[in-house]
Every structure is written in C-alpha cells, then in structure tokens.
C-alpha cells in the first residue's frame, strides 16, 4: 500500500468556492464575537454577500468550463457538481434573506444562526462533489450536523425541541444504516470510488449494502417509506429552516443518488428501475393523500414535498440522460416555487404569528401581494401552465414515456389531480373566504425581495425555459452514453484533470 498526495496550489483552485465560503463563515463567527454591538441583521447581509461572491465564483467556473478531480478522484468538479452548487448557494441566499425578520424570535445566539446556515450550505456544496463512499458519508453528515442544531433553535417552543430530537435520533439511525451499507460494499469489493465499484463482480452482499445506502439516502430526501421524520420536523423547526430543509439537502442528495445509480450501478439498471418505480409511486400517493387532511400549512407543504420527491424519482427511474436532465430542471423549478411558498408562510407567520390554514382566510383582502404570490407558487407546485412547475413535470413525464414506464405515468397523472385539490383549497380560502381580522398586512423589504425572486424564477422558467434546459442538458453531458434502451454497458467516466 502506497499513499501519495499529488495536490498543488493550482489544483486547489477547484475547491476555491468551498475555501472562500469556509474562510467567510469563520470571519462571520469572529465578527459576531468581536463586535457584540453590531445589529444581527448586518450579519445576514454579510452572509448573503459572502454567498454572492461564492456564486459569482461558481458561475465563472461554469462559464469557463473548469472541471477536474482531486484527491485520487475522490473530489470531482464537473458541470453537474457546479449546477448543484449554484442551486444550493442560490437557495441559501434566499433562505438567509427570508430569515432576517424571523431571527428576532430567537432569544439567544442570533449570530450563530447565520454561521450554522452557512456551514450547512458548505456541507451541501461539498455533497455535490464526492465521487467515493467515504467522502459521500463525511459530507452528508457534515451538512446534516448544522441542521440538527438549527431545527431545535426555538428553545422555548416544545414543538421545536421535539422536532430537533426526532430529527437527530432518526438522522443518526440513518447514518448508522449508511455506514453499515458502506462497510458491506467495501468488504465485498475492497473499493470505495464509485466508478471502480462498477467494475467489480456482483454479489448478494453488495445488494444488501446498496439497499442500505439507498435507504439512508431515501431518508435524506424523505421518500416513502423513509419519510417518518418529515412532518414533525418540518412542523416544529423554525420556518426558514423548514424551507431550507425542504429543498437544499434534497437537491444535494440527488447529486449523490445520480452519481451512485448512473456510475456505480449502471450495469444493474433493470433491477433498480423497479425499486425506484415502487418508491416513487409510494411517495407520490402517500404524500398527496395525507396532505389533503392537513390543517397546518407547514405540514401540508411537508407532505406535498414528499409527493414532489416522488415526482423527481420518476426522472431517476427513467434512468436515461434525459431523465437526469429532467431531475436537474425539476429541482430548479422546485427551488423557486417551494422557497417562494415558504417565504409567504414566513411573512404571514411574522405578521399574524400563525401557521394554520384557517388563518389564511381572506388573505387577498389583507395583502393582495402575498395572496397572489402564494397563488402563483401553489399553481407552480401543482404544475399548471405557464408556470415553471408545468415544464418541470412535463419534462420528467416525457423522459418516463420514452422509457415506457406507463404505470408510473398513470399514477403520476392521477396524483397531479389529487394535489390540485389541496392546493386549490388554500387558494379558495385566500380569495373567497371572508377574513376574520381585516387589518392589512405589510411585508418587510427583505421578504418582498425573496418573494419577487421566487415569482420571477417561477414565471421565467415557465415562459422561457430554453436556456435553463440547455444548462441542465450541458450539466449532464458525462451521462450522454446512457442510451434510452435498457441494456447499458459499464460506464467509463470522462473525469480527470
């Protein structure tokens, strides 16, 4: 066994966004500590500034076509990784802006809140890059650690404590499953790099190992039957954190899932398609049916999130490059619609201190802007043209039609109708019901900014999706050898400096 480290300074430039963010968040910690008089809102803007620099860096990499691999192929920076990093950094910026007013509710450690959000964002950025089981585990746990604390941040609120404890215990259990799965795969193959695992012979131990890994990743994305933590955690967590949890870790986990299924397990596609079809059908149906009965908007969005993940899994089940493009585009539309919907929930909750759907009655009379924004986001989540969600759903269904997964598509279509029902109930409450309290609501500038960005994204992606689809297609070029037919040869990846 020989070990070597062939990393030069110029190689490390591949990790520049992560390095900038690490330094920036340490800086925020120091500023928070050294200047106790500084209003904490300034830290929010400082964090957003740091993320803007990272975002500019990532976009520059993407335009320049920077790519490569570091640490013996364990850290890869390709266009797919860049896509997910841009998505995560963008979502984090929106969440930070949406948190600005909400943070006033915390009695202590207001500054550390921003630090932990940035730390989780850093973990998820790293999650877009690992190319082996060890880095996958480490980055996955890194991103989750910040969330364990953030979910329980409302110490005075029993629901938040309960949410934090449930999330922690189930999360640690999932981490245990993941390590057990990894140990089985490593024991059977002696390899940890994804592309090297693909080249080894198949054994029953590997099946169990990969099922355990899938169960743990399924926990992170909240797919049925690994969803049990979602409703209570989403309900109890501070709402900006719920918004963050509902999109960023899921997107980052999809980056890992795609690499795992398309690289390590490429040769076994016929077997895993069935597994994914099953999980996808269960997630969509369970999420949508249980969402109907919800009285709390955060719980409703939690269940709708389970159903949306079922939709994304359709793209993975298609198992083609087109399905992969559809996943990326769908996640992009989901960021805008979901963060937007949660921004409205945060704004309403800041003003009337309630998350009950009943209290949304007559929202149109009290704040036409909030009601209209919620209408657009809900319709986008339901998939109504000409909004972003429609193109996303269309794209993902087309990918499945090409693979002739007709049962999955039928179930998916029925589920769209079911989801329409509970989304429209909220719309009816907002527009038709009479408000109990008629006082008008004024929205703060930072919340307005988040909602406008969400609206702009939802409309632009819906009306003119071409450049974004092209971006998604370009991001997955490395999977272009995935023919639409079922039989696929083991993949050789065009990685490397």
């Amino acid at each position: 066994m020989t070990f070597s480290l062939n990393v030069t300074g110029s190689d490390l430039i591949l990790m520049l966004p992560e390095i900038i963010l690490t330094l920036w968040l340490c800086g925020i910690l120091i500023v928070d500590f050294a200047m106790p008089k500084l209003p904490k809102e300034q830290l929010a803007y400082l964090s957003v500034c740091g993320l803007a620099i990272v975002l500019a860096n990532l976009v520059w990499f993407d335009l320049e076509g920077v790519s490569g691999a570091l640490f013996a192929n364990m850290f890869v920076l390709d266009r797919m990784a860049l896509f997910f990093k841009i998505l995560i950094v963008g979502a984090t910026m929106l969440v930070l802006l949406a948190s600005r007013d909400y943070v006033q509710r915390f009695r202590f450690f207001k500054g550390e809140y921003y630090f932990l959000v940035l730390m989780s964002a850093l973990g998820m950025m790293l999650m877009a890059s690992p190319n082996d089981l060890l880095s996958m585990f480490i980055t996955l746990e890194f991103s989750t650690f910040g969330f364990y604390v953030l979910v329980a941040y409302l110490r005075e609120d029993a629901a938040s404590n309960e949410a934090g404890l449930k999330f922690f215990i189930l999360g640690v259990f999932a981490a245990g499953l993941l390590t057990y799965g990894i140990s089985l795969v490593y024991g059977e193959t002696g390899k940890i790099v994804f592309s090297e695992i693909a080249a080894t012979a198949w054994t029953p131990g590997l099946t169990i190992g990969f099922l355990l890994i899938f169960a743990s990743l399924g926990f992170k994305i909240g797919a049925v039957p690994f969803h049990s933590w979602i409703p209570d955690t989403y309900h109890g967590a501070p709402t900006p954190i719920t918004a963050f949890l509902s999109i960023a870790p899921k997107a980052a986990t999809f980056a890992i899932l795609v690499r795992l299924f398309f690289v390590s397990l490429a040769a076994l596609k016929p077997a895993w398609v069935l597994l994914l079809v099953g999980v996808s059908i269960l997630s969509m149906t369970y999420g949508n049916i249980v969402a109907i009965a919800q009285k709390n908007i955060k719980r409703l969005l939690a269940y709708s999130g389970i159903a949306q993940i079922g939709n994304v899994l359709i793209g993975l089940a298609a198992g083609t490059k087109m399905g992969e493009d559809a996943i990326l585009f769908y996640l992009l539309t989901y960021v805008f619609a979901n963060v937007g919907a949660f921004a409205v929930v945060i704004a309403v909750s800041n003003l009337i201190r309630s998350d009950e759907i009943e209290d949304y009655s007559g929202l149109n009379r009290r704040s036409p802007f909030l009601a209209f924004a919620m209408l657009v986001f809900l319709l986008s989540l339901a998939g109504v043209p000409p909004l972003a969600g429609f193109i996303g759903k269309l794209y993902i269904f087309l990918a499945a039609i090409k693979e002739e997964l007709y049962t999955l598509i039928m179930v998916g279509l029925v589920n769209i109708v079911i989801s329409m029902y509970y989304y429209l109930i909220i719309v009816k409450k907002m527009y038709i019901n009479e408000p109990i309290d008629r006082s008008p609501l004024t929205v703060s500038p930072s919340m307005q900014a988040v909602i406008y960005v969400g609206l702009a994204g939802t409309l632009v992606l819906g009306i003119y999706p071409k450049p974004f689809i092209e971006w998604a297609v370009a991001a997955t070029l490395m999977f272009s050898n995935f023919a639409p037919a079922a039989a696929v040869a083991p993949v050789v990846l065009p990685f490397g400096g």
Binding site: M1, S4, F109, E112, F142
Partner: protein, 174 residues
Amino acid sequence: MATLFFSYFSGVIVLASILVVALRNPVHSALALLIMFFHVAGLYITLHAEFLAAVQIIVYAGAILVLYLFVVMLLNVKRDEHYHAQYPLGAVLGVTILTEALLLIVQHSFSKETATADLGATDGKQVLEGNTETIGEALYSTYLFSFEVASLILLVAMIGAIILAKRDLFEARN
C-alpha cells in the same frame, strides 16, 4: 506464550461481560464493562493492531464509558429491576447470535495458511512500519479531503453543542 495471553484476555472478557449484565448495581456494571474494554484492547495488541488498541482505550474506555457513568450518576439509577424482566428476550437473541457465530466457525476453518495468505495479499508494509504510521500516512495523503471535512464537522458540533446546552445559563443570568 501467545496462547497463554489469548486465554487470559478472552477468559477475562467473557467473565467481565457476564458481570456487566449480572451485577445489580449499575455503577458496578459499568466498571465491569471498563475491565472488559481494557482486555479487548489487550487482545488487539496481541494481534499487532496497536492503533485499534489505543482507539479502544481512548474512545470506548475514555469517552463512551465515562459518558455512561455520568448518565448513571446524574439520573441516580440504583438497582433498577426494570431491565431484568427482559431475560427471555436476551436468551433468545443470545442463542441466535451464538448459533450464527458457531456456524461461521464451522464453515470457515481459520487455519494458519489462510492467515498468512491474507498477510501476503498486502505488501506487508503495515507489518514493518506499524499500522499507526500507515493509518496516519493514509489520512494525511489519500484521504485528506475527508479528514479536513471531518475537522469542519467537529467545529459545527462544538458550536452546536454550546448553542443547545449553554442556553440555560443565559436564561438564569437574565
């Protein structure tokens, strides 16, 4: 000589493990567990796994067991009879695991040939240098990325622990 050490360590391990579940006082049980951990570490040393032995003592005996003792003392659990009602369940699980272990031993004959064949498969570097050096070298070269990320995890965990635990102090002061 090796057989002598092996029978001493394994004998104490079995005895101490039985004491852990049989003793009525939780503190005594924890101390028996401590003896067990030390002897497992001794067993690792006879197998030339000195790194594992050090980790066994530092992590298990040093950290996890102290945590157990804290919990036992803070919660003031004395002679809790509650768990002794679970003997039937314990017996079923114990017999199952014992059968599995016996089956494994019967199916694989752990002879000297297979042991040396396994050693020959690697280039024997860790035998020459000692495995602590080898692990250290691997951590700081091939697995540097994971190692650095792990240090960030510790930073988050530290700050998270302060946020979750220290809040009561602030509340008392205000």
